[in-house]
Structures are given as structure tokens and as C-alpha cells.
């Protein structure tokens, strides 16, 4: 999936040269000294297999202008937080993929950055670690850090983000506050469990029906005030439950990206 997320992050981090435009952080151009206060989690990983954890982090600490004491304190704090402090002197090649992902996260946050860029932080994590990581990110958010976070998993985005910027094939699809976007969309999703005939329901406001599981349908409705009409139309079927919900981010994405594809 080449859409340009990682390229954009690398441009911010001065790895790639940008073709045009400007990148500003708090109104200032990004230089290597401002980058000392930026954390970056690289999706593909950035840990050298031959080094031990301590060596690797000492190197990265120096890179971010930390003193030796700061490096040790911060590293131990974070390792304890994730419960992997026994790996301090282990070679990175001997560490499992999930734990490596945690180390990647520590790389991004160990120098107490103001801006944290996380490129797919949840890939390769089991649910438990995922939950821990999610909590840590929320904690950082409460501390007032700016977090830029990319993901394909919409439920994570939905539970963590205030603002979203959706990108498809290098172009902006959607940008704004998540709640505002949801309200603006003015569409509802009705989840129905029961036997209905998908093709026979006739109601002008319904613009899409998908079958999620056996006998479970998602009915998408234009205009939140029209849901009652739809429920009215459903009365003739044998229905076990009806849930009325806002569109999820995934739905919004499908819709927006889909429109984009068609227009191209």
C-alpha cells in the first residue's frame, strides 16, 4: 500500500528531501536541533540486530543529545513500564518481534520529545501489549505531547485521535476533527440482526446495505432524522435486534476512498 504516509514522516524527519512546500514546527523550520525534541517510530524498524539493547539505546540517546545518566534512567523507566527490563543486556537479534516493537516505541519516546511520530506502532503486537501501548499513548496525550500517529486499524485511530488526516495515493481525502467529521457526515448506520431481504427493502434514504455476518446487516442511512423511516420499513421482517450508531471511521474511510477511486 503506497499512499505516502511514511514518505511524509521521513520528510518531516529530514531523512528525505522534500520536493516542494514547507514543514514548520511551532512556526519554525525543522533543523537537526529541533529534531532532538521529536520522536519517531519507524514502521520497518531501526534496531541493529548485532547490538545489545543498552548499546543501541546509548547510541540513539547520544543522537538526541541526552547525557549518559539521562539515557540510563529513561531506558530503565521505559523497560520497566513495558515489563521487559530483563532484556537490558540482550542482543536485539534474540528478542521476539513483539518485544522489538515495544523497543521501537521506546526509541521514539525515550528522549522525552514534544512531538511524537508513530508509524504503525501496533503492527506485530499481541492484544495485551496492544492495550498497554494504547494506555501509554493516552498517558502521553494527557501530558500534552503532540502525537502524530498512522495506522490502518481504524478502531485504534478512533479511540486515540482527536484530529484525523486521511491520505490516499498521496492525496488528502479527509482532514479535520474526528467528532466534527462524524457529525458533518450526517449519516447513520443501523445494525440489524434478523432475516431480511436485502433487495426488497425500499426506502429512499437507504443508500447501502452490506451483509456483515450471517443474518447481520448494516444499513446505511442518509440524514440522522431518517432512521425512524427505515425502522418503519423493517417492521415486516423478523428482527432480533436493532442498533443505531454513528458511522465508524472505517465506514467513512471506505466511503471516501471509494469515491476517490471512482472519480479517478
Amino acid at each position: 500500500m503506497v499512499h505516502g504516509k511514511s514518505t511524509m514522516f521521513r520528510c518531516i524527519m529530514n531523512i528525505y528531501e522534500k520536493d516542494s512546500g514547507e514543514i514548520l514546527l511551532n512556526g519554525k523550520k525543522i533543523t537537526s536541533s529541533t529534531l532532538d525534541k521529536v520522536g519517531f517510530l519507524i514502521e520497518e524498524g531501526c534496531l541493529t540486530a548485532e547490538y545489545t539493547v543498552y548499546e543501541q539505546f546509548s547510541m540513539f540517546g547520544i543522537l538526541k543529545n541526552m547525557t549518559d545518566d539521562e539515557i540510563t534512567d529513561s531506558l530503565l523507566y521505559w523497560l520497566n513500564k513495558f515489563g521487559i527490563s530483563e532484556y537490558l543486556n540482550t542482543k536485539i537479534k534474540k528478542i521476539s518481534k513483539g518485544n522489538k516493537q515495544k523497543l521501537q516505541f521506546i526509541v521514539a519516546v525515550m528522549h522525552n520529545p514534544d512531538l511524537i511520530i508513530l508509524d504503525e506502532p501496533f503492527s506485530g503486537l499481541d492484544p495485551l501489549s496492544s492495550a498497554i501501548l494504547k494506555n501509554v499513548i493516552l498517558e502521553l496525550k494527557k501530558q500534552g505531547k503532540i502525537i502524530i500517529f498512522s495506522s490502518h486499524q481504524m478502531e485504534n485511530v478512533e479511540s486515540l485521535c482527536d484530529d484525523i488526516f486521511m491520505i490516499s495515493h498521496g492525496k488528502e481525502v479527509l482532514y479535520g476533527n474526528l467528532n466534527d467529521i462524524k457529525n458533518e457526515m450526517d449519516k447513520k448506520k443501523i445494525r440489524v440482526v434478523g432475516k431480511i431481504d436485502k433487495d426488497k427493502i425500499k426506502c429512499e434514504e437507504i443508500y447501502n446495505i452490506t451483509e456483515d455476518k450471517l443474518d447481520t446487516y448494516d444499513i446505511y442511512v442518509n440524514g440522522s432524522e431518517n432512521t425512524s423511516k427505515v425502522i418503519e420499513a423493517l417492521k415486516e421482517y423478523d428482527i432480533k435486534s436493532i442498533i443505531i450508531d454513528n458511522l465508524s471511521l472505517e465506514d467513512i474511510f471506505m466511503e471516501k476512498a471509494g469515491v476517490k477511486y471512482e472519480s479517478e
Binding site: 524527519m13 537537526s32 520497518e44 531501526c46 541493529t48 546509548s58 547510541m59 547520544i62 543522537l63
Partner: protein
């Protein structure tokens, strides 16, 4: 800010190396090795002084000697270990050595040494000397000469070479420094390049580099790597010196306590400090140049290593640099003669950084360049280092960010199949080309021998006709063969527009290049035998002169171009232009069947191929070939008619051509630089089109395969028996090699 990061990172890197357990083990081993090496002799002495000489080591000799002097000679050496025994049948099996000396049919000495085991080198050489002395004595007795005279006659003549401006003694005294320095640079660089390559490769493969670039600039990152490895090597060197000192101390303790030697601090400190100014300057130049060379090589190595994409490439990336280092520090300095005047080309090459590290001090010690030259070389090196740092760090970053494109599996499989198909076609083409070459060699040699014997007495115009006919008959069959084979039929089709202006420009530039090539190849093969001397033709009448030009210039220009450029290069071009150029040029060189012409032809072949490729026809190379050979032919004719006057004229023309060569070289270099820049933008476009192209090619290949299967029965068989095809290719290749060797031998004999 950056500097402090760079400093801290460097220190950190060095510390890490020193903490590495392999490094500690290595150093312990080095210490042990140093102690063992220095003290080995002493310990041996100590052990020997305590042990009585035992019988075991004796060398037992049995002698059968018709001259009766071997025994005396051996006794004269006064070696206690050699014991002479009576001859017995089973003596050799018992561990004795049997020496037999006899007169052969012509009354010369013949000797045989039989033993059941190997003989110690020192004893064997003793026997050898004794036997040689006997031979000298016998010879002297027979011819009534004194032994000394015979000895003098059998030794090489000692030539005392004196150059009045060169202080030979001085050079001899200090040339050891150069050898030592070149070896040190070389050994150092083995460590430096491998450790640079492994750190950069390791970090690149695991993408740590990308994160590093967010904290420091690519320049700082490059220097962090270079400094780190160089400091480690320097410290390691210092440590090695300490180890040697420790070992020497232990040695003196051992000597004092076990061998009763006196305590002395005479470790060679009484070297006079009276160094000549020449040597001092040479030493300073050597030191500065060596440091710069290491820096330049480090940058090159770092850039090369930054391009690796998997761990197995890491070691490969060092090979190129190490090869260059071997050439620059060990091989190239040997090209500089100590007793002759140094060629201007060698001097220019010596100025190239890295090569200059050893070559310039050597030239300076020999008095072949001035102090100004030495300083100039240092300035050039420094300038190039500065340029390299700027461009190096950019290339380094580019390399670090270039990751292998993970092509999808299907695409890869399809591409592999395509490659296979191409490879088999390529092999077939190669075997055709080799076959054509064989045909040419067979025809030309057989006809050559026939004409040599049958028409030897012919002179004048008739001789020319015979030669011309022979030549055409020997070269045409191979062209005909290639032209009519399946694989070349394609190149006949497709007319190309002839762009006169372009061809003219190409010819003008290429002529200069060829002149430069001629100078270089003349230099490589110093005994450039004149083409004309090989042929032996008359040039008395105008008609004969014209025939001479036709034979030397016109015919080769037509037929050789048809064979080597149109047929061979044209066929192979599809499989990679570089390979095609190399093969056709080497074939062109081989065709000349002698070393000096072969080298020139090979190099010129490259130029011809390139211009033909650019123009799209073989016309420019034909014209150039004609002009080039024509110049040679006219030169010969004029020399014949006018003698020394012609030589003067050609000296002047030579200077003009030299200038021409330099100008066209400059033009070509500028053009190459310009093309480089254009290439990048073109490549970007290419990437997008690549996939479509591959598909297109695939389609056309499929059609081709179908056609071939339908039309050619042989190809069906070859697909069924791939092993057979490969074997037959191998056999043809082998026959080419054998045949070339044989023909060269035969032509030398005749």
C-alpha cells in the same frame, strides 16, 4: 551541537569495539603471539643449551662416486651432523641417504640422491653446492682451466649501474621504508575496510541508518564511521607496539636469567639522526599521502558499503577497494623503474591520489620529480579529498536510503524464466561467435602456410594479389557463417537513417581517442613490432603503393568491421551492451594473433563498438578503421621513400595528433558527466515504463520461442537435452582456447 554529537558518537563507537569480547580475545591472542614470536629463538636456544646433542638428528650418507671427491667436499663443510656410512643394499630403507655421482655419455656429471624421507633443506643445498663444485672442477680439469675462471664464467655478469644525478646508495638505503610503508597501508586498510563495511552494512541492513539520519547530518554520520574505525585501528596499532615491547622485555629477562647475557639497553636507539633533506621530504610526503590515502579509501569504502542490501553483500563491497589498494600500494610502485627514465604517463598516473601515496615518494627519492612535483601531488590529494567529502556524503546518503525493491514473487519467477531463455540464446550466440573465430583462425593459418611455401618466390604486384586473395578467403567464411546463422539474421533487417553530421563528429572525436589508445598500448607492449615488418611487401611502383594501401587499410576496414562490429557485436548487443563490447573487442584482439597488435586492437575495438552503437551503423568505424590503417600505411610508404625526412614530418604530425587526442578526451569526459545528469531524469521515467516493457518483451519472446520451435528442429532437440547444449558450448569454447594457443605457437615457430 553537531560536533559534540559526532565526538560523543565516535568515542562511544570506539568504546564499544574495545568492550567487545572478540576484540579482547583477539588482543590476548596477539599478545601471546607476539611473545611467542619474539621469544621463540631464545627458548629454543635455552632448550638446546641444556640438552646434549643427540644422535637422532644425524644425517647418514652413503656415497657412490665416480669422481671420488664428494666425500672430501662434504667433510670440508665440517658439519657434525653428517655421518658417512658404508654403502649397503638396504641402506636407503634404513633411513640413510644415497648419493650417486657418475659421468654420463658425454662425460658430464650426473647425480642422483635417493632417500626414504624428505631431506632438510639446509643439508640438501649443501649437497647441491658440493655437486656443482665437482662439476666445475671436472670441467676445469678437462679444459686445463683454473677453477676460478670456470666459476666466473658460470656466474651472471655483475653490472654496476651508476646514475650520476641519483644517489643510488641513498635510494637503496631508504627504499625499504617505501616497501614497508606500502605494506603497512595495505594491511591497515584490510582492517579499516572490513570494519567499515561491517558496521555500515549491519546498520544499513537493519535500517538503523534511517534513524541515525534524523539526529545527525549524513556528513557527520559518514565521518563518525570513518573516525571510529580509524581510531580503533590506530589504537590497535599502538597496542601492538606495546605487545612487542612486552615481548622484548620478557625476552631480555629470559636471556639474562637463563643464558647469562649482560643487561643491555641497546635496542637500536643509536640510529643517527642525520637524515638527508631529500629523505626527510620524502618521508613527510609519504606520511601525509598515506593519511590522505586512508581517508579517501575510507570514504570510497563507506559509499560502497552504503549500497549493500543484504548481509552477504557486505564482504563483497570490500573486494573492489582492496583490489585497488593492492594495485596502488604494492603492484603499481613496481612499474616505476629504478634505472631508466620514467615515462610521462607513469608520472601522471602517480599523481592520482592513493596511488601517489607510495609512487610519489619513490619518484622523489629517485630524483625523477622535483620537490614542487611532490608538493603538487599532496595538493592534488587534499583537493580530491575535499571534493570527495562533499560528493561522498551525498552519495553515502543516497546509498543508505536505496533499499532493494521487494519485487513480487510472480514477477520474479517470470523474470527468471525470461533470463533463462535469454541465457540459453546467449550461450548459443557465444558458441556461434567462437565457431566463427575458429573458422577464421583455421582458414587464415592454413592459407598462410600454403602461400608461404607455394608463392614464396613471387614478387611485386602478383604477391599483392596473392596476399589480398588469401586475406579475403580467410576472413569471408566466418562472416558468411555468422551472417547466415539463425541468431544473426535479425540484424540484417531494419534500416537505420544515416546522420552524416553525427557520424562526422563521432569520427573526429574517436580518432583522437584512438590516438591516445595507441600511445597507451605502445606503452603497455613496449616491443610494438611494426605491422609492416611482418608482411614483407614491395613498394616500388605507384601501383604497388596503391595495392599496399588497399591491403593494409581498405580491406580490413571493410571485412573486419563487417565481422567484428556488424556480426559479432550486433548479435551480442541484445544481451547487454558492455558484455558485447568486451567479447567482440577481445575476439578482435585475438584475431591479430600477436600480443602487441592484439592489445591495441582490443582497446580500439571498444572505441569502435561504442561509436557504432551511438551512430546505429557500422559506417563510422569503417571510416575510422580505414583512416587509422591508412595513416600507418602512408607512414610506411613515406619512410620507405624518404627515410629520415619522413620521420621529422611524422614527429610534427604526432604532436598535432597528441593535442587532438587530449581535446577529444576532454570532450568525451565532459559528455559523460553531462550524460550522467540526464540519465537520472531518464531513469525516473524508465521505472514507470519498466513493467510495461517487460511485458512487451515477454510477449515478443514468447512469439519468438514459438517461431523457433516451428522452424528449427535443432532447437527442439537442444531443449530436450540442455546438458548436451552446455557440453557442446563448453567444447567449442575449449577448442577456441586450445586452437589459439596452437596457432600462436605455430606462427612463432614458422
Amino acid at each position: 551541537m553537531k560536533v559534540s554529537k559526532l565526538r560523543r558518537l565516535t568515542i562511544f563507537g570506539v568504546e564499544q569495539t574495545f568492550k567487545n569480547k572478540f576484540w579482547i580475545i583477539l588482543n590476548v591472542l596477539m599478545l601471546i603471539a607476539a611473545i611467542a614470536y619474539v621469544n621463540f629463538g631464545t627458548v629454543k636456544e635455552i632448550i638446546e643449551s641444556r640438552k646434549e646433542a643427540s644422535d637422532k638428528d644425524n644425517i647418514n650418507l652413503m656415497i657412490i662416486d665416480e669422481t671420488d671427491s664428494f666425500e672430501n667436499k662434504i667433510l670440508n663443510f665440517k658439519n657434525d651432523k653428517i655421518v658417512i656410512k658404508e654403502y649397503s643394499e638396504s641402506g636407503v630403507e634404513d633411513g640413510n641417504i644415497l648419493v650417486e655421482i657418475s659421468y654420463d655419455n658425454e662425460n658430464y656429471i650426473h647425480a642422483r640422491i635417493t632417500s626414504s624421507e624428505y631431506i632438510d633443506m639446509t643439508y640438501y643445498s649443501l649437497f647441491e653446492t658440493a655437486i656443482n663444485e665437482i662439476r666445475d672442477e671436472v670441467f676445469a680439469n678437462r679444459n686445463n682451466l683454473s677453477i676460478e675462471e670456470v666459476k666466473k664464467a658460470s656466474n651472471n655478469v655483475e653490472i654496476e649501474r651508476i646514475i650520476t644525478t641519483l644517489d643510488k646508495e641513498l635510494y637503496d638505503k631508504y627504499s625499504g621504508i617505501l616497501l614497508g610503508a606500502s605494506l603497512v597501508v595495505y594491511m591497515l586498510f584490510i582492517f579499516i575496510s572490513s570494519s567499515l563495511a561491517s558496521t555500515i552494512g549491519m546498520e544499513k541492513v537493519s535500517r538503523t541508518t534511517e534513524y541515525m539520519l534524523t539526529g545527525i547530518s549524513e556528513n557527520a554520520y559518514l565521518w563518525y564511521n570513518i573516525l571510529q574505525t580509524n581510531i580503533v585501528v590506530l589504537l590497535q596499532g599502538a597496542l601492538s607496539v606495546i605487545y612487542i615491547v612486552i615481548a622484548t622485555l620478557i625476552n631480555s629477562v629470559l636471556r639474562v636469567s637463563f643464558l647469562g647475557a649482560e643487561i643491555s639497553l641497546d635496542v637500536g636507539l643509536n640510529v643517527s639522526l642525520n637524515i638527508e633533506p631529500t629523505v626527510l621530504i620524502a618521508a613527510v610526503v609519504l606520511l601525509v599521502q598515506a593519511i590522505i590515502a586512508v581517508l579517501i579509501l575510507s570514504i570510497i569504502q563507506a559509499v560502497l558499503s552504503s549500497r549493500v542490501n543484504n548481509i552477504s553483500d557486505v564482504s563483497n563491497s570490500t573486494v573492489l577497494v582492496l583490489f585497488f589498494v593492492i594495485f596502488a600500494t604494492v603492484i603499481f610502485p613496481n612499474f616505476i623503474p629504478t634505472a631508466e627514465k620514467v615515462n610521462i604517463f607513469l608520472k601522471i598516473i602517480s599523481m592520482i591520489p592513493v596511488i601517489s601515496a607510495v609512487a610519489v615518494p619513490k619518484l622523489y627519492l629517485l630524483g625523477q620529480i622535483s620537490t614542487f612535483g611532490a608538493i603538487l601531488s599532496v595538493i592534488i590529494s587534499i583537493a580530491i579529498t575535499a571534493v570527495l567529502t562533499v560528493f561522498g556524503s551525498k552519495a553515502f546518503k543516497k546509498g543508505l536510503l536505496s533499499l532493494s525493491k521487494g519485487s513480487k514473487k510472480e514477477e520474479r519467477v517470470e523474470k527468471a524464466a525470461l533470463d533463462d531463455f535469454n541465457a540459453s540464446k546467449f550461450r548459443a550466440s557465444i558458441s556461434k561467435v567462437s565457431m566463427a573465430l575458429i573458422i577464421y583462425l583455421v582458414f587464415s593459418n592454413i592459407l598462410g602456410i600454403i602461400t608461404k611455401f607455394a608463392f614464396a618466390s613471387l614478387g611485386g604486384v602478383l604477391n599483392y594479389i596473392v596476399q589480398i586473395v588469401t586475406w579475403i578467403v580467410s576472413i569471408y567464411p566466418s562472416y558468411w557463417y555468422l551472417k547466415n546463422s539463425n541468431y544473426t539474421r535479425k540484424i540484417e533487417s531494419g534500416k537505420v537513417k544515416i546522420d552524416v553530421k553525427k557520424i562526422a563528429i563521432l569520427i573526429v572525436i574517436a580518432f583522437g581517442i584512438i590516438w591516445a589508445v595507441q600511445l597507451v598500448s605502445e606503452y603497455i607492449s613496449k616491443d610494438l613490432t611494426n605491422i609492416i615488418e611482418l608482411i614483407n611487401l614491395d613498394m616500388n611502383t605507384p601501383l604497388e603503393c596503391i595495392l599496399f594501401v588497399v591491403y593494409i587499410a581498405l580491406l580490413p576496414a571493410i571485412f573486419e568491421e563487417l565481422l567484428f562490429r556488424k556480426a559479432i557485436f550486433g548479435v551480442l548487443k541484445k544481451y547487454g551492451i558492455k558484455l558485447a563490447i568486451i567479447i567482440s573487442s577481445v575476439a578482435f584482439g585475438l584475431m591479430h594473433q600477436n600480443f602487441s597488435q592484439g592489445i591495441f586492437a582490443c582497446l580500439v575495438g571498444v572505441v569502435f563498438c561504442i561509436i557504432d552503437d551511438k551512430a546505429g551503423t557500422i559506417l563510422p568505424s569503417m571510416i575510422l578503421h580505414f583512416i587509422n590503417n591508412c595513416v600507418a600505411a602512408v607512414q610506411v610508404i613515406m619512410m620507405n621513400k624518404m627515410g629520415e625526412e619522413a620521420e621529422n614530418i611524422f614527429d610534427v604530425i604526432g604532436i598535432i595528433f597528441n593535442v587532438w587526442a587530449v581535446i577529444s578526451l576532454v570532450v568525451v569526459i565532459l559528455q559523460v558527466i553531462k550524460n550522467r545528469k540526464n540519465k537520472e531524469s531518464i531513469e525516473k521515467m524508465k521505472v514507470s515504463n519498466e513493467k510495461e516493457k517487460i511485458e512487451e518483451i515477454k510477449e515478443s519472446q514468447k512469439e519468438e520461442i514459438k517461431k523457433e520451435n516451428a522452424s528449427n528442429v535443432n532447437s527442439v532437440i537442444s531443449i530436450k537435452n540442455p546438458v548436451k547444449v552446455i557440453c557442446s558450448d563448453f567444447v567449442t569454447d575449449l577448442t577456441v582456447v586450445i586452437y589459439v594457443i596452437i596457432t600462436v605457437c605455430v606462427s612463432k615457430l614458422i
